[in-house]
């Protein structure tokens, strides 16, 4: 099928089989390899992206269901001038990334949270990130970073809320 979607604010299209995973569309067809595959079964969250602003595991989403919708990946978090999203900045300062393979999904999940909650509690952050496995950090510095990013975030600053594409 001819898939049309908005990725990180830019219209993109690809001719793909309809049941292809959104993950593979991003990685193979659009060459956006920041989104990672850790398990292929929706368990680890390394492939997390935002679909119309909602956190999803892109390994469980058929391409056809992403048609005419907006996708945000890790590549779309920083501003066009390269300045980091507050969540990226906080991960950078607090040491939220070690090996880095869970980081793209973790960042995307964290962005979805700080877009919704101004002062999430430790427990809320942990619940929100529970679908993103990290084997390196013990989550300590990730939770610290998300809390710091939520505090630092001013309305309107940082992440652009993805626009919904007209159907």
């Amino acid at each position: 099928m001819k898939l049309r979607l908005e990725v990180n604010g830019r219209p993109r299209s690809a001719d793909v089989p309809p049941m292809k995973r959104l993950l593979d569309v991003l990685r193979d067809d659009l060459r956006l390899t920041g989104t990672k595959e850790g398990c292929g079964e929706g368990e680890c969250g390394a492939c997390a992206v935002l679909l119309d602003g909602e956190l999803v595991n892109s390994c469980l989403v058929p391409a056809c269901q992403a048609d005419r919708r907006a996708v945000t990946t890790v590549e779309g978090l920083a501003a066009p001038d390269g300045s980091l999203h507050p969540v990226q900045q906080a991960f950078w300062e607090k040491g939220g990334a070690q090996c880095g393979i869970c980081t793209p999904g973790m960042l995307v999940a964290a962005v979805a949270l700080v877009e919704r909650a101004r002062r999430p509690s430790d427990a809320e952050i942990r619940e929100w990130l529970a679908g993103n496995l990290c084997r390196c950090t013990g989550y300590v510095k990730i939770v610290e970073a998300v809390a710091a990013a939520a505090r630092a975030r001013r309305p309107g600053a940082g992440a652009r809320r993805p626009k919904r594409v007209k159907r």
């Binding site: 990685r27 060459r31 956006l32 390899t33 920041g34 989104t35 990672k36 595959e37 850790g38 398990c39 292929g40 079964e41 368990e43 680890c44 390394a46 990946t73 890790v74 590549e75 978090l77 920083a78 980091l84 990226q88 991960f91 950078w92 607090k94 040491g95 990334a97 070690q98 090996c99 880095g100 393979i101 869970c102 980081t103 793209p104 960042l107 430790d122 952050i125 942990r126 619940e127 990130l129 529970a130 679908g131 993103n132 496995l133 990290c134 084997r135 390196c136 950090t137 013990g138 989550y139 300590v140 510095k141 990730i142 939770v143």
Partner: protein, 756 residues
């Protein structure tokens, strides 16, 4: 090089301390923006896809391999052991015993053993072709229970003092048997390699790995080609924890064989299921303790038997066993010690390196056992440990006098203080009275970990690093130590910058590539900072001396970047060497008798104590870890935030192993090879972790640093399980302490709990 000076402690020399500060992480931005390229991210035009055909049987004779690929045949290649031998390849994964083949020949020794390799232009075609490779097996009776296995991979033994006499004169003898299961590394990036066919006489392999020169040695042996004909380069690596120490040798060999067969680059990328069922795990084990005490609760004699399940091939088992045996008596003073270690063969996938490398198994056994000993002796568990922990200069089981052994006691005191141990225990007692169906408990563990290779391993390894002068007063670090999340490149740059007195930014690092860097040894054994970092500091001193001589100033003073650039330019213009190399020296004069297991097993040990606080729900027998406090002496934190990250991450892996992580095997095959059913801790299960970092400098580590990567993995599990046992007043002698096992132990503790 000036070996005499290498023995001197490397003191900070820069005007502004680089070492000890949280400088920006080297590869941080790439990882945070999605730009870092992991092996699956490489764009390799024309590459084919590789698939591995594996044995479904734990043990079998291979009767035949048919490879009628039908219509797909034109676009696929198949490689079997026969092909490999016909082509004159050496079908041996070079490691310690050289007993493991790249591809099973005539027989398979474990389930999931590679029997054939297939490559085709796409994954789908390769899978279809692989499904048409028909292997006929004659299944044989496998040995699956390591406690009944008879084939021995390796034994080792420690004898100190007179154990028989100690037991004869004991006031009390306490025995216990402890068992631990497999642990899967579960790095979030599965194994993977891309191999290119031979181009201009060189075979290139790139991928996810910890030890580029291990892969290099394996490929050199496989192809029978000289060192310069093989090139191995690391891609960004999504976690290792020991799991990418030896197994990448196989993945790389397989990818290279396929590239050779099809004449194109080949991507061999495992998916999660394949990685989990086929690759290495932590060794399961059974540890039996007999402990003799005097009337005051002092350890008179320790008799320990360590049995590990090596799996089907020797791989790294001998060195895992030797580390286990050396650490089996713990950081305790005991004049009479007998330890017998054995690692046996079973028809299961080989077990390998995993953070801790034998120590987590023995630390779990000993620290559980000491709680039992304390109870038997009527002593408080803290007091029992305090009475027996080593003091400065006292000797370990191998008779090694350790100058800073008293740090174990400092760690204990710090952990008790930070956790408010006694007050917390009282609070728990009150809590438990108030709550009918919740029980809180506290657990403690003391542990230690030797830095670097065991015994004379570092002397044999003779690691080498180089520093290279670049334009503009910059210096480049050339080492094979890999960044796998710990921050290797950052701490290396810090060490070199500090020695030269240059800004951190003036020191560059490279991705390890065997064509570019000298062999600084594998990235394992908590050796990267204390061993490789020290050689780098030596190299930096040598570079300083060379340039200082060149401009006629005394060595050992910090450079301004301008002066350094000037001196470097002068040096190079005069035809001076661009590179300075340094090799491992043995500044502490470490000596170890490898046949008798006597002497300095490690140049340095890191010391630690952990306290865990848990709450067990008596309705479901689920455990919540409320808090982990860990105090550890690591010599010196080169980068405090990265160091804390290592400690927190290691403790979390230990919590996972303590509570959830279990390999369920059926007929020798891992049945729960998915992240859905092999349970890792999520952010919710992970407790708040409080660290106390003690810094008692190690004279021969860079700026006093010791190894820290493995230490936190060693003691977390016993602390957690001791806490559960404390909460419920039950005995638990097996890992993981799942709700199922806790429930069974709770029922067994009082017969009336079993209702009709």
């Amino acid at each position: 090089m000036a070996p005499a000076r290498a023995a001197v402690r490397h003191l900070p020399r820069a005007p502004r301390a680089v070492v000890g500060s949280n400088v920006p992480r080297r590869e941080g931005l790439e990882k945070l923006t999605g730009r870092a390229l992991y092996v699956a991210d490489l764009d390799v035009p024309g590459a084919w896809w590789g698939v591995t055909v594996r044995s479904p049987h734990a043990r079998a004779r291979i009767l035949s391999i048919e490879r009628d690929l039908g219509a797909d045949g034109a676009r696929a290649v198949v490689v079997t052991a026969e092909d490999l031998l016909r082509a004159g390849r050496d079908n041996v994964v070079h490691l310690i015993a050289d007993d493991q083949p790249f591809l099973a020949h005539r027989s398979v020794e474990h389930a999931e053993e590679a029997v054939a390799l297939v490559a085709a232009p796409t994954r789908e075609e390769a899978e279809r072709a692989a499904a048409r490779v028909r292997v006929r097996y004659e299944p044989l009776e496998p040995v699956l229970d390591f406690e009944r296995a008879e084939t021995i991979h390796k034994t080792c033994a420690i004898d100190k003092g007179d154990v028989a006499a100690a037991f004869a004169g004991a006031a009390r003898v306490v025995e216990g048997t402890y068992r631990v299961g497999h642990q899967e590394h579960a790095y979030i990036e599965p194994n993977g390699m891309v191999a290119w066919p031979r181009i201009d006489g060189v075979r290139l392999v790139r991928g996810s790995l910890q030890c580029p020169f291990y892969v290099h040695a394996a490929l050199t042996r496989l192809f029978g080609e000289p060192a310069e004909a093989i090139r191995v380069a690391q891609t960004s690596t999504g976690g290792g924890f020991g799991g990418k120490e030896d197994y990448p040798d196989l993945v790389a060999g397989h990818a290279a064989l396929l590239a050779d067969a099809c004449g194109r680059p080949v991507r061999l990328l495992y998916d999660r299921a394949e990685d989990m069922v086929a690759t290495t795990k932590r060794h399961p084990g059974r540890i039996v303790h007999r402990t003799a005490l005097d009337a005051e609760g002092r350890l008179l004699g320790m008799d320990v038997e360590v049995l590990l399940d090596g799996g089907a091939y020797v791989t790294l088992s001998p060195v895992v066993l030797s580390r286990a045996v050396i650490h089996a008596a713990g950081p305790y003073r005991c004049a009479n010690v007998r330890i017998r270690g054995r690692v046996v063969k079973t028809n299961t996938p080989p077990n390998g390196a995993f953070r801790g490398f034998g120590v987590p198994q023995v630390a779990f056994a000993l620290e559980r056992h000491l709680d039992r000993v304390a109870r038997a002796a009527g002593l408080d568990r803290v007091e029992l440990r305090r009475r027996n922990l080593l003091a400065d200069g006292e000797t370990t089981a191998t008779g090694q006098a350790v100058i800073d052994a008293g740090a174990s006691r400092q760690a204990l005191d710090a952990a008790l203080k930070r956790s408010r141990f006694a007050a917390t225990a009282r609070a728990h007692a009150r809590f438990n009275r108030r709550h009918a169906h919740l029980r809180r408990g506290l657990g403690l563990a003391c542990f230690f970990h030797g830095s670097g290779f065991t015994g004379n391993g570092e002397i044999r390894l003779a690691s080498e690093v180089a520093l290279e002068l670049l334009e503009g007063g910059r210096v480049r670090v050339l080492a094979a130590a890999t960044e796998i999340g710990q921050g290797t490149r950052t701490v290396f740059a810090q060490i070199v910058a500090q020695v030269l007195g240059l800004p951190y930014e003036a020191v560059e690092t490279v991705d390890p590539d065997t064509a570019l860097v000298p062999d600084s040894g594998p990235t394992v054994a908590s050796r990267t900072v204390p061993i490789v970092g020290r050689i780098l500091a030596d190299a930096a001193r040598e570079l300083d001396a060379v340039l200082a001589r060149r401009v006629g100033r005394p060595p050992g003073r910090p450079w301004t970047r301008r002066d350094f650039a000037g001196a470097a330019a002068l040096h190079l213009d005069a035809g001076g060497e661009r590179r300075v190399t340094a090799r491992f020296s043995n500044p502490s004069g470490q000596r170890f008798d490898e046949t008798r297991y006597v002497g300095d097993a490690y140049a340095a040990y890191a010391w630690a104590a952990a306290v865990a606080e848990v709450e067990v729900d008596l309705t479901s027998f689920e455990t919540r870890v409320l808090r982990v406090v860990a105090a550890q002496d690591i010599g010196r934190a080169i980068h405090p935030r990265l160091a804390a990250g290592q400690l927190e991450g290691g403790l979390t892996q230990a919590v996972g192993w303590a509570l959830f992580e279990e390999v369920v095997a059926r007929d020798g095959r891992m049945a729960n090879g998915q992240l859905t059913n092999y349970i890792l801790p999520t952010a919710i299960e992970t407790p708040p972790i409080e660290l106390v970092v003690l810094e008692r400098p190690f004279a021969h580590g860079p700026f006093g640093a010791k190894g820290i990567g493995e230490l936190p993995m060693d003691g977390g599990a016993p602390a957690v399980v001791n806490a559960i046992a404390d909460a419920l007043e039950i005995d638990l002698d097996r890992l993981p302490a799942t709700p199922e096992r806790i429930a069974a132990a709770w029922l067994a503790a009082r017969p009336e709990r079993r209702r009709a």
